[in-house]
């Protein structure tokens, strides 16, 4: 076999001498590889976004709803169940969640808007130790009321007066520096001068984090709350737009800092209250107000709602509904060591614990995406396959046109294998160059789509900054595929070239 360096030199010289042949042969490869990498990169990116919304290695264990004579007899998700699940070999971790199971409402000021919202049904608690999305969130997201080191902040205070109409008041502000009380003035011009109601101020030190709780008339850290990226996406995509509010930055700490820090993220929570008139009549416990603060964004938070340290939820459920409510989890988020073990785990769960997995939209989407990816890859492979046939056709023509040259190579010492390698090398090089151009063309195409998306498509939840993710394996696969198919296309012509009788080839006119 001829030396590789000399083979390479000959192949390069032969390939570059005929532009027409090169363009005819490489054109299909360029188009095929461009579609191949673009299809793969787009489905890769869509898959990544999908996995962000529905982590595929995570499943949610729930107890099937069951009732007997109007009584809820559903299986109870408790610590024992969590322990049993954790003993399974395929389970990496199990995170119990507890929902706030009685009505609660929130009220807060955001950018001058008086926002009222329902909290009951949209709040749950998790182990604070699992929230580690960023340093600041990790530091703030804990059960402060159970934190022994925080007792120094338990200072006696006077809570704000409760309004007579039972409405939840806004979280009171701290007394501003150089505060001047409003002057007494008549309510109507010329009427009697009326002394204005004195404004209540939060008198707790570190007022950006602490408030005066009405239950024990002591200062407490506001209940730390995290929200999911889905909430931020919904806020940015729908809420902010319709209410003329600012878009939340991807860097949430920066967003909060720009708005004056944690103080701007505080709000009141009325336990036992509701924004839906008449729906809390079954609650016997007297409503009470406390305060929460949004401390960060976490992928561990419930998708739609707010998540806080589980201790708060347990205490509130116990306070309002009793011990049973304080020891029953709403779901258990199980992370598996391998997402392919979902089926095995689900079967075990059903057979042994009489529990089931919550319907996994993510799995359905992933299946659909897999099928779409398969179809797109098949389409691009068909294009590349056709281009390989085109290469074969061009090379058959080339071999016929170059019979004399190939015969000469045999006359000066080329073996049949050398001639085959020269032709295959030319096909491979055309494939490789076509592959590089195809990948480049694909990236250009992707940039154009991204540009159009960023400039002309309206914002929507989870809209990615780019629709394509060109992993190393995609473009490497593109190049290998291009060269491979080209070599495949060149195989038969190369075989014919090598089998050619040199004596006859040399006499060709």
């Amino acid at each position: 076999m001829m030396p590789v360096k000399r083979l390479t030199r000959m192949v390069v010289a032969n390939t570059l001498r005929s532009r027409r042949h090169f363009v005819l042969s490489a054109f299909g490869i360029v188009i095929g590889i461009a579609t191949f990498v673009v299809f793969l990169a787009s489905t890769e990116q869509v898959g990544a976004v999908l996995e962000k919304i529905f982590p595929l290695d995570q499943v949610t264990v729930v107890a099937p709803r069951a009732s007997l004579a109007g009584m809820d007899v559903s299986k109870k998700l408790d610590d024992k169940i969590v322990k049993t699940i954790l003993e399974r070999s395929e389970v990496k971790s199990a995170l119990p969640r507890m929902s706030l199971v009685f009505p609660a409402a929130g009220r807060g000021d955001f950018e001058g808007n008086d926002l009222k919202f329902e909290v009951g049904g949209f709040a749950d608690g998790i182990d604070p130790n699992v929230v580690d999305d960023d340093g600041r969130t990790k530091e703030l997201f804990k059960d402060w009321d159970m934190d022994a080191s925080d007792t120094k902040h338990r200072i006696a205070c006077t809570p704000p007066p409760e309004p007579a109409n039972g409405e939840i008041i806004q979280s009171p502000r701290a007394r501003p520096k150089n505060y001047k009380p409003p002057e007494p003035k008549p309510v109507v011009p010329g009427g009697p001068v009326v002394e204005p109601e004195p404004e209540y101020f939060n008198e707790c030190p570190d007022s950006d984090r602490y408030y005066c709780d009405g239950a024990d008339r002591m200062c407490h850290h506001r209940v730390p709350i995290v929200m999911s990226p889905t909430m931020i996406e919904l806020y940015n995509g729908q809420f902010a737009k319709s209410h003329g509010l600012p878009i939340a930055d991807a860097d949430f700490v920066k967003f909060v800092t720009q708005r004056g820090g944690l103080n701007a993220m505080r709000f009141s929570i009325g336990l036992g209250s509701t924004t839906i008139a008449g729906s809390n009549t079954s609650i016997k416990h007297k409503p009470r107000r406390l305060e929460g603060v949004l401390v960060g964004i976490s992928t561990k938070a419930m998708p739609i709602g707010m998540t806080m340290p589980i201790g708060y939820i347990q205490r509130w459920n116990r306070e309002f509904l009793g011990d049973e409510a304080a020891s029953t989890y709403s779901s258990i988020i199980v992370t598996l060591k391998d997402k392919t073990q979902v089926a095995v785990f689900a079967q075990w769960l059903q057979d042994k614990l009489d529990l089931r997995l919550d319907d996994s939209l993510g799995e359905k989407f992933a299946t659909v995406l897999f099928v779409i990816r398969l179809v797109l890859v098949l389409i691009s492979l068909v294009i590349i396959g056709i281009s390989a046939i085109n290469i074969a056709h061009n090379f058959f023509m080339q071999v016929t046109e170059r019979r004399r040259e190939l015969g000469l190579l045999r006359a000066v010492g080329a073996t049949q294998g050398d001639v085959r390698m020269v032709v295959l090398g030319e096909a491979g090089l055309i494939g490789l160059i076509g592959g590089v151009l195809g990948v480049g063309f694909g990236i250009l195409l992707a940039s154009a789509v991204d540009y159009a998306s960023n400039h002309y498509l309206p914002r929507f939840p989870y809209k990615p900054a780019t629709w394509f993710h060109f992993s190393w394996w995609i473009w490497t696969g593109g190049l290998v595929c291009a060269a491979g198919f080209a070599v495949l296309g060149g195989y038969l012509p190369a075989r014919r070239a090598s089998k050619m009788e040199p004596a006859q080839a040399l006499t060709q006119n």
């Binding site: 001829m2 030396p3 000399r6 045999r410 000066v412 010492g413 073996t415 294998g417 040199p502």
Partner: protein
């Protein structure tokens, strides 16, 4: 027949070759037997279609006989592998064709050094040096970087000869080397080949219609209907019936 002082460079025994099948079958070689000794300059003459070029190709391993024995430098070309034959052509033999067979996309030096592409034995510096040396021998030192399209017919044939000489072959097989050249240029080529034989001792087998080659040849082998007519006088007579005198 010339006296043998060693084993022959080429040994042919009862070599036959036919093309086509059935009614279209043409017997091109009919039991050809002869030896070529080292240092000989042989002119192979005969009418068109008498089997001269086929015989040359069979000796060069570019074509395979149907039957008979062909030994070149002691190698049985019938039994030799493709790689052995290729190596033989690369290191021991050179070919010169009537149509020059230069590659237009390579320059003159590239054409001359083409055989080196299939050799493991030489480094690139040495390849270039030997290529230039071959060009010097044929008087084309200044044409190394020209393209074949820029050369005259005679110059092209000299480049082809330089390519054949590149590997310092012991046997040069020339198929109508002056066939595409005018008389003067043809004469120059003949003279060059004669000197090559006389000075460097290269064995030459030249298929030709050219009477002047026959006159400088040490031996003339004539072919008629695929058979040999070996005596020089008779061969010349046969040659006279065919190509130009």
């Amino acid at each position: 027949m010339a006296a043998k002082d060693s084993s022959p460079v080429v040994r042919l025994r009862d070599v036959t070759k036919a093309y086509g099948t059935g009614a279209a079958k043409a017997q091109v070689l009919r039991g050809v037997s002869f030896d070529i000794d080292k240092g000989e300059l042989i002119a192979l003459v005969g009418q068109s279609g008498s089997g001269k070029s086929t015989l040359l190709n069979v000796i060069g391993g570019l074509d395979k006989p149907d039957a008979g024995e062909v030994e070149v430098f002691g190698v049985d070309t019938q039994a030799a592998s493709d790689a052995q034959l290729a190596d033989l052509r690369n290191r021991k033999m050179g070919f010169v064709f009537q149509a020059f067979n230069l590659l237009d996309h390579l320059n003159v030096l590239g054409n001359v050094t083409l055989p080196a592409a299939f050799s493991h034995h030489t480094k690139q510096d040495e390849v270039d040096h030997r290529g230039r040396e071959a060009l010097r021998k044929v008087g084309l030192s200044d044409f190394a970087h020209r393209k074949p399209g820029e050369l005259s017919g005679g110059q092209k044939q000299r480049v082809a000869i330089a390519r054949a000489l590149f590997g310092s072959p012991e046997l040069l097989l020339c198929d109508e080397p002056t066939g595409s050249l005018d008389s003067d240029t043809g004469h120059e080529v003949i003279e060059f080949l004669r000197e090559l034989n006389a000075k460097d001792g290269v064995t030459l087998l030249i298929v030709t219609h050219e009477r002047r080659i026959s006159s400088v040849a040490k031996r003339v082998i004539a072919m008629r209907d695929g058979m040999l007519v070996e005596t020089t006088d008779e061969a010349l007579a046969v040659a006279g019936k065919g190509g130009p005198k």
